[in-house]
C-alpha cells in the first residue's frame, strides 16, 4: 500500500495551486481568513474566474461543460481551494441542480439552465427543508396545485442558505395531496421574482444572517418548470443525497483549523507560559490530530474507491459523522484555548473594511462565534442521528 499521490496528481495539484495564487484576489482570501462577511459579489468573483477557467462545473461530465475529473482530482481541487482560503463554491446550482438536470432534465431544461449555471447567470437556492420537516423530508407540506398549464404553489421553506441572494430556487413540493409520505412529491424550478414569494431572514445564534425562510403564497409556476415526471421528485431528491460527495468529511477544513489551533495555543498563555506546553491541553490536541490523521486516510480510501467506480455506501455516513465531530472538537479547543479572550463579541468586526483595534489578539474575534456556528454541521444535511439510522439499516440488517 502507498498513499502518495502519483506524479500526474501532484502536477494537477500544482496547477490548481498556481491558478489560485494568480487569480484569487488577496483581499478576498484575507476576508475569508478573518471570517469576515462575504458579499454576493465576493462569491461571484471567484465563481466567475472558475467559469472562465472551465473549472466551475467540477462535478459534471465533460460533455456538459464540466471538468470530468475523477474523485481524486476533485479531492485535490477541493483541498487546494480551501487551503487558499477561497470563498466556497455555492453548490446549489452547480453541484446540486446541475447533476439532477443532467440526469433527469428535459433537453429544453438542459439547454436553457446548464449554460446559465456554467456562466453564473443564475444564483440558485435549495428549497427542501420545511419547518415541520427537518431530517424527515418525506413529510413536507408545500403544495403545488395543477392549474392546467401552471401550478399554484403555497407553503414555506426554511434554512434556505443565501436565499436572499437567489434568482431561482429548486423546490420539493407536494403535487398529489392524497399520496403517502415520499410519494406525490415533485421537483420544481421557481423564479424568485415570481409574485407571492417572500424571503425572511433567520438570524442564527451567532448573530449572523445566512439562512432564510421562503414563503410561497399563490405563486404561479409554469408547468415546464417541473423536472422529470410529476410525483416522482423524491427519486431525484434521493439521487442528490446519494450523489458522490468526496468532501463530506471536511478534512481540509479540519486540517486548517487544527493548524490554527496550534498557532493560537502557542500564543495563548497559561501562568505566563504558552498553553501548548500544558500537558493536558496538548494531549487533547494530539489525540484530535490522530483522529484527523486516521480520518484523512479513511476519506482517501473512500475517494479512491469512488475513483475506481465503486459507489460509496455507509462510508459517506460514517465520514459525515466523524467529520463533523472532529471539526466541532477543533472549534471547541480553539474556544477553550482563548480563555477569557473568547468573551468579546463585536459583530461589526466581521464587516469588510473594519479596522479598529480588536479586543485581545486579532485572531480571537471569530473563534467563539465559529464554535457556536459549527454546531449546525451535525444537524444539517441529514443529522448525525439520521446517518446512524442509515448505517444500521443498510449495513447491519438490524
Amino acid at each position: 500500500m502507498n498513499f502518495e499521490y502519483s506524479e500526474k496528481e501532484e502536477n494537477f495539484r500544482l496547477e490548481v495551486k498556481e491558478w489560485l495564487s494568480k487569480t484569487l484576489p488577496k483581499s478576498l482570501s484575507e476576508k475569508v481568513k478573518k471570517y469576515q462577511r462575504l458579499t454576493k459579489e465576493d462569491y461571484e468573483i471567484f465563481m466567475k474566474n472558475l467559469s472562465a477557467k472551465g473549472w466551475l462545473a467540477w462535478h459534471w461530465p465533460k460533455e456538459y461543460g464540466g471538468t470530468g475529473w475523477n474523485a481524486i482530482e476533485k479531492h485535490i481541487f477541493e483541498e487546494e481551494i480551501i487551503k487558499a482560503s477561497a470563498p466556497r463554491i455555492i453548490p446549489f446550482g452547480v453541484n446540486m441542480l446541475g447533476p439532477v438536470l443532467i440526469e433527469f432534465g428535459s433537453e429544453e431544461q438542459k439547454n436553457y439552465y446548464l449554460p446559465r449555471i456554467l456562466n453564473n447567470e443564475d444564483w440558485w437556492a435549495q428549497g427542501y427543508s420545511e419547518p415541520g420537516a427537518g431530517s424527515d423530508l418525506a413529510s413536507l407540506k408545500t403544495t403545488a396545485i395543477d392549474k392546467g398549464d401552471h401550478y399554484i404553489v403555497n407553503g414555506q421553506k426554511t434554512w434556505t442558505t443565501l436565499g436572499h441572494h437567489a434568482d431561482k430556487i429548486f423546490c420539493l413540493v407536494k403535487t398529489d395531496l392524497n399520496a403517502k409520505p415520499q410519494l406525490g412529491i415533485s421537483f420544481l424550478l421557481i423564479d424568485m421574482d415570481s409574485p407571492g414569494i417572500k424571503v425572511k431572514p433567520i438570524v442564527t445564534l451567532d448573530g449572523e444572517h445566512e439562512v432564510n425562510e421562503v414563503w410561497f403564497t399563490d405563486v404561479k409556476v409554469p408547468k415546464k418548470n417541473i423536472v422529470g415526471k410529476e410525483n416522482e421528485g423524491w427519486t431525484y431528491a434521493k439521487y442528490l443525497l446519494t450523489f458522490e460527495r468526496t468532501g463530506i468529511a471536511g478534512v481540509p477544513y479540519s486540517k486548517s483549523a487544527l493548524n490554527h489551533l496550534k498557532i493560537v495555543s502557542k500564543k495563548s498563555l497559561k501562568n505566563g507560559k504558552p498553553l501548548i506546553d500544558d500537558p493536558v491541553f496538548s494531549s487533547e490536541i494530539a489525540e484530535l490530530e490522530i483522529d484527523l490523521l486516521a480520518m484523512e486516510i479513511f476519506n482517501l480510501r473512500t475517494v479512491n474507491a469512488a475513483a475506481e467506480g465503486k459507489a460509496p455506501g455507509m462510508e459517506s455516513s460514517l465520514l459525515k459523522i466523524k467529520g463533523t465531530l472532529v471539526r466541532q472538537k477543533t472549534t471547541e479547543l480553539l474556544r477553550k484555548a482563548l480563555g477569557p479572550q473568547a468573551l468579546p463579541y463585536l459583530p461589526e468586526q466581521f464587516d469588510e473594511g473594519w479596522n479598529e483595534m480588536p479586543i485581545g489578539p486579532d485572531y480571537a474575534g471569530p473563534i467563539a462565534k465559529q464554535y457556536f456556528n459549527m454546531r449546525k454541521i451535525s444537524i444539517y444535511g441529514g443529522s448525525n442521528e439520521i446517518q446512524k439510522n442509515i448505517v444500521a439499516k443498510a449495513s447491519f440488517g438490524l
Binding site: S129, G132, G134, S135, D136, A138, S139, T158, W159, P181, I202, V203, T204, L205, G207, S268, L269, K270, N271, G272, D278, V280, F281, E332, R335, K336, L338, G339, P340, Q341, A342, L343, P344, Y345, L346, I359, G360, A368, K369, Y371, F372, R375, K376, S378, I379, Y380, S383, N384, E385, K388
Partner: protein, 372 residues
C-alpha cells in the same frame, strides 16, 4: 444532615423566582436589556435591590440579609433560569465579597451597594492573566502619599457603567509573585474604558489606567486572600447559575421532544434520544449535588471552600458542554436560531466556562487542594 432549605430561604426562593418570572419572562425582553446603554435594565436592577435580592447576597454583619453559600446558590440558580444580565455577579457577589472581607470595612459603601445605588465592578483579569489569582501586570505606585495605577484590566464585567471599580495591582515583586499585590478602589472618572457586549449577552469593558488615583483597601496576604475569596464566590455563583441554565435546557429539550414529530412519531419516542436524555439528567443531578456541597461549605475554612467550589466549577464546565451541545443537537435547527431561547441558554452555559476559571483550571486547583 439537612438537605432542605430553611423556611426563610424557601420564601426567598419563591419571591425571587416570582419576581424574575414576571420581569424576565421571555428571551426578547432579555435581548432588549442587553442592548440598553448600560447593558442591563436599570429599573429592574433598582427593583431587585428594593426586593432585597442584593441584600440576600450580603451577610447581616455588613448590613445584608444573607450572604451564605446557600443564598448565593439559590439566587444564582434563579438567575440562570431567567438568564438575566443584571450586574448581580459583579456588584452583588465579587465586589461585595471583597468589601466585606478586607480588614478596613467601609460599611457605608456596602450599604450603597446593597441598596443598588452604587455599582462596583471587580477588575482583576488581564489580557495575559488567564484565570490566575496572582498573575498581575497592572502597576500601583505611590506618588507622594497617593496611590496611582497604570495598566489595563480586561473583560471587566459591567466595568463600563460601574461607579467604582475594585482593582488588583502589583505594588511590588514579579508578575506572578504571591506577595506584593494590592487591592484598590478607583472612581470611574479616573478610568478610560472601551466597552462591548460579550457573546453571551453581558456587558464588559477594557479599563485603562493612566496614572489613575486609587485608594488602597488591602495588600499582600490580605489582598491575595480577598482575590481568591472573590474568585471562589464568583465561581460558586456561576456554578449555581449554570445549574439553573442546565435545568432549563433540559426542560426545553424535553418539551420539544414531546411535541416535535419526525417520521410519524415524536422525536422523544426514539430510544437513542431517550437514553441521551437520561445521561443528561444524570449529569445534571451530579452538578446539583456538587453545587449543594460547594454552597454548604462556603463558610468553612478556605481550603475546604475552594476545593469544593473547584469540584463544582470543574463539573459544571464538563457537564455544561454536554448539556449545551445536546440541547442544540436534540432540538435540531430551531436551537440554532437567535429567536429561540435555547440558543441563548446554550451560549451562556458554554461561556460560563470562560469566567472565573475554566474546567481545566479548577481541575488543577482541585488536584492541589485534594492532596491532604
Amino acid at each position: 444532615m439537612d438537605f432542605s432549605l430553611s423556611e426563610e430561604r424557601k420564601m426567598l426562593k419563591e419571591t425571587v423566582a416570582r419576581f424574575f418570572e414576571s420581569n424576565y419572562k421571555n428571551i426578547n425582553k432579555r435581548s432588549e436589556n442587553v442592548y440598553l446603554p448600560e447593558g442591563f435594565c436599570k429599573t429592574f436592577w433598582k427593583d431587585s435591590a428594593e426586593l432585597g435580592i442584593i441584600s440576600a447576597l450580603v451577610s447581616p454583619e455588613f448590613g445584608g440579609l444573607g450572604g451564605d453559600g446557600d443564598d448565593i446558590s439559590i439566587i444564582f440558580e434563579l438567575i440562570g433560569k431567567s438568564l438575566c444580565v443584571e450586574p448581580f455577579l459583579a456588584s452583588g457577589v465579587l465586589s461585595s465579597t471583597v468589601l466585606s472581607s478586607v480588614s478596613k470595612i467601609n460599611i457605608d459603601l456596602i450599604n450603597e451597594v446593597v441598596e443598588g445605588n452604587l455599582l462596583i465592578a471587580f477588575a482583576h483579569t488581564e489580557m495575559n492573566n488567564r484565570y490566575e489569582d496572582s498573575f498581575i501586570e497592572t502597576n500601583a505606585s505611590l506618588r507622594g502619599r497617593k496611590w496611582c495605577l497604570n495598566g489595563t484590566k480586561s473583560f471587566v464585567i459591567n466595568g463600563d457603567t460601574a461607579n467604582k471599580v475594585i482593582v488588583s495591582a502589583r505594588i511590588d515583586g514579579n508578575v506572578n509573585d504571591k506577595a506584593g499585590i494590592g487591592l484598590f478602589l478607583v472612581d470611574n472618572n479616573q478610568i478610560t474604558n472601551r466597552s462591548y457586549n460579550t457573546i453571551d449577552g453581558y456587558r464588559a469593558a477594557e479599563l485603562i489606567f493612566d496614572n489613575s488615583n486609587a485608594e488602597l483597601i488591602a495588600k499582600d496576604n490580605e489582598a491575595l486572600s480577598c482575590i481568591i475569596k472573590a474568585n471562589s464566590a464568583g465561581a460558586l455563583a456561576l456554578s449555581s447559575e449554570a445549574l439553573g441554565i442546565m435545568e432549563t435546557c433540559f426542560n426545553l429539550t424535553l418539551d420539544y421532544l414531546k411535541t416535535r414529530n419526525q417520521f410519524g412519531k415524536t422525536i422523544g419516542s426514539f430510544q437513542s434520544i431517550q437514553h441521551r436524555m437520561v445521561d443528561m439528567m444524570l449529569e445534571i443531578e451530579q452538578v446539583k449535588s456538587a453545587v449543594m456541597l460547594a454552597s454548604s461549605t462556603y463558610q468553612s475554612d478556605a481550603k475546604t471552600r475552594d476545593k469544593n467550589i473547584s469540584a463544582a466549577k470543574n463539573l459544571v464546565g464538563r457537564v455544561g458542554k454536554l448539556v449545551a451541545e445536546e440541547t442544540i443537537q436534540l432540538h435540531g435547527g430551531i436551537a440554532m436560531t437567535w429567536e429561540y431561547s435555547a440558543s441563548h441558554y446554550a451560549k451562556r452555559l458554554i461561556m460560563i466556562d470562560h469566567l472565573m476559571g475554566d474546567s481545566d483550571y479548577h481541575r488543577d486547583r482541585f488536584k492541589l487542594l485534594s492532596v491532604s
